[in-house]
């Protein structure tokens, strides 16, 4: 399986500077790919385009040569700030339930305690919330996971925990994974390949 982005160009509004210019990238489910770049190089925009969170761009995103299907998107994105990706009026079980029925053993794998399911997002800290946001994205229909600075705001121990759980499930399900980070050491450990997105956006 392969997720490809061809000739992607993007700017926020017609007047502003172009953030991405003719970017080509391809992710497959056999290797874990790392994406590395300076701040402002358009990494986050590229991630959003790949996962369908941005719709107005030039170029095309394909899954095995086909268009991304409507409805559930097999490409799911994890943001840096988990508190922004949850409706503050939902309890945690509703947050997970929006995507799928998560089996108990997987909750345990991700270090989620049952009692947390009845809490509001405001009652949990960033580390715990991020476990939920990752697990929500891991619907059985998900084929590719894009982790955009997923653990940047977390401490090193939580970072290990989350990545261990994610890597396990990615291998089990034969999923594709794109890791975006500014931490070279982290990428060296996790990724099979690392690519560099520089200022002029040639991958």
């Amino acid at each position: 399986m392969e997720l490809t982005a061809k000739n992607i160009s993007f700017r926020y509004s017609s007047s502003s500077r172009r953030i991405l210019k003719d970017v080509n990238i391809s992710i497959d489910n056999k290797k874990i790919l790392g994406l590395f770049g300076d701040s402002g190089s358009g990494k986050s925009s590229l991630c959003k385009i790949l996962a369908g969170h941005i719709n107005k761009y030039e170029g095309e995103v394909r899954l095995d040569g086909n268009e991304i299907p409507k409805g559930f998107n097999p490409v799911q994105l994890i943001y840096q700030h988990p508190e922004k990706v949850m409706n503050p009026k939902w309890k945690m079980h509703e947050v997970l339930g929006e995507s799928w029925d998560v089996p108990d053993d997987l909750l345990e794998d991700f270090g989620i305690q049952k009692s947390w399911l009845n809490r509001w997002p405001a009652e949990l800290s960033g580390g715990e919330l991020q476990r939920f946001s990752v697990l929500r994205a891991l619907n059985p229909k998900t084929k590719f996971l894009i982790a955009d600075e997923m653990t940047t705001m977390l401490d090193a121990i939580t970072q290990v925990q989350i990545f261990e759980s994610v890597l396990k499930i990615v291998k089990e399900r034969n999923m594709g994974l794109l890791v975006v980070s500014h931490d070279r050491n982290l990428m060296d450990i996790i990724c099979d390949d690392v690519i560099y997105l520089d200022d002029i956006n040639h991958v």
Binding site: Y12, S13, S15, S16, R17
Partner: protein, 330 residues
């Protein structure tokens, strides 16, 4: 620097928008009045004795039995040539009535608008700065009470206290009815203006003071205010440099957005003080079925309110540097 070309473009857009808006307002008010049981012919003849052939002639003139579209077309056509018709109760052209009455009201509205704006802002800053002290509490209680008080009731109280009980001011009337405006002395005129203006001012203070207070408290808890404090700024200079600078523009904008409320307040206050302004004319026109005058007043009051909103828009879009220069630096 304020970009002149951008303003011109903005104003052009706003004027086109306003033209469309005005047409809709005219249609809306025309339809509303046409729906009503008002009969302009009856209003015109009111207590005169008129023969049936004269009535028929008048009905033809007003188009009583014609479909609404024809009446509307006639009237719109006349308006485009600058003819708003003749007021039935004043028996003079509508435009003349409106220009006279609006001038009288504008003086009343603008003076109270300025006074309430300045006073309200000062009270709001004081209350926010001295938050949770007795100053703040006093301002808050005053504002809450005034905000809940019916305008015309406060006007009645003012009449009761200052005109009847203390006898400082005449009980009613902008100018003695029937007197020509140029024969009335300035002092006479001022004496009739003070109470209504005072009433409108003390009422108008409430919303602007509460808004300013809340806004200042909001600013005082922002990161940049905190940082200014951390850098040793304090007391009044701190409020002046980082508080007032940041709330003055929104407060002025709010004050310009209040033209509609101001107009409503003026109508009520003029009624109580029998001040011969646009509000009183509107009420008479409504009560005595003076359709041409009522329609004319609706149009001009809409222009008045729109101008207020437009100024607020311009302030918001061209004075704040974030919005003014935001486009270029993206």
């Amino acid at each position: 620097m304020i970009d002149k070309k951008k303003i011109a473009k903005f104003l052009g857009y706003k004027i086109v928008r306003f033209a469309i808006l005005l047409v809709v307002v005219i249609l809306l008010s025309f339809i509303l009045i046409d729906m009503s049981p008002i009969n302009p012919v009856n209003a015109y003849i009111s207590n005169m004795v008129v023969g049936p052939e004269k009535i028929a002639k008048l009905e033809a003139y007003w188009g009583v039995n014609q479909p609404i579209t024809v009446k509307l077309m006639n009237w719109l056509g006349n308006i485009l040539t600058g003819d708003f018709g003749t007021s039935l109760i004043y028996r003079t052209p509508v435009l003349q009535v409106i220009s006279e009455k609006f001038t009288a009201s504008l003086i009343l509205m603008l003076s109270s608008w300025v006074i309430s704006g300045v006073l309200g802002f000062i009270l709001g800053v004081l209350a926010g700065f001295k938050r949770d002290t007795w100053v703040d509490k006093a301002v808050k209680v005053y504002c809450y009470i005034l905000q809940s008080a019916p305008t015309f009731w406060i006007a009645l109280l003012v009449v009761m206290i200052f005109s009847i009980w203390l006898g400082w001011f005449p009980v009613s009337g902008g100018v003695p009815i029937g007197a020509l405006s140029n024969t009335v002395s300035f002092w006479d005129w001022l004496r009739h203006l003070i109470l209504p203006a005072f009433t409108l001012s003390i009422l108008g203070v409430a919303s602007i003071a509460l808004y300013t207070r809340d806004k200042l408290i909001e600013v005082m808890s922002t990161d940049y205010f905190l940082f200014a404090q951390a850098r040793g700024e304090s007391g009044w200079t701190l409020i002046k440099r980082h508080g007032i600078r940041n709330i003055l523009l929104p407060a002025i904008t709010l004050q310009f957005l209040s033209f509609s409320e101001l107009f409503g307040g003026t109508v009520l206050v003029e009624q109580v003080f029998m001040y011969p302004g646009i509000g009183q004319a509107a009420v008479s026109a409504g009560l005595r079925s003076d359709v041409p005058l009522l329609l004319g007043i609706v149009i001009f009051s809409a222009i008045f309110v729109y101008v207020g909103n437009l100024i607020a828009d311009v302030l918001y879009n061209f004075v704040d540097p974030r919005i003014r220069e935001g486009e270029e630096s993206g």
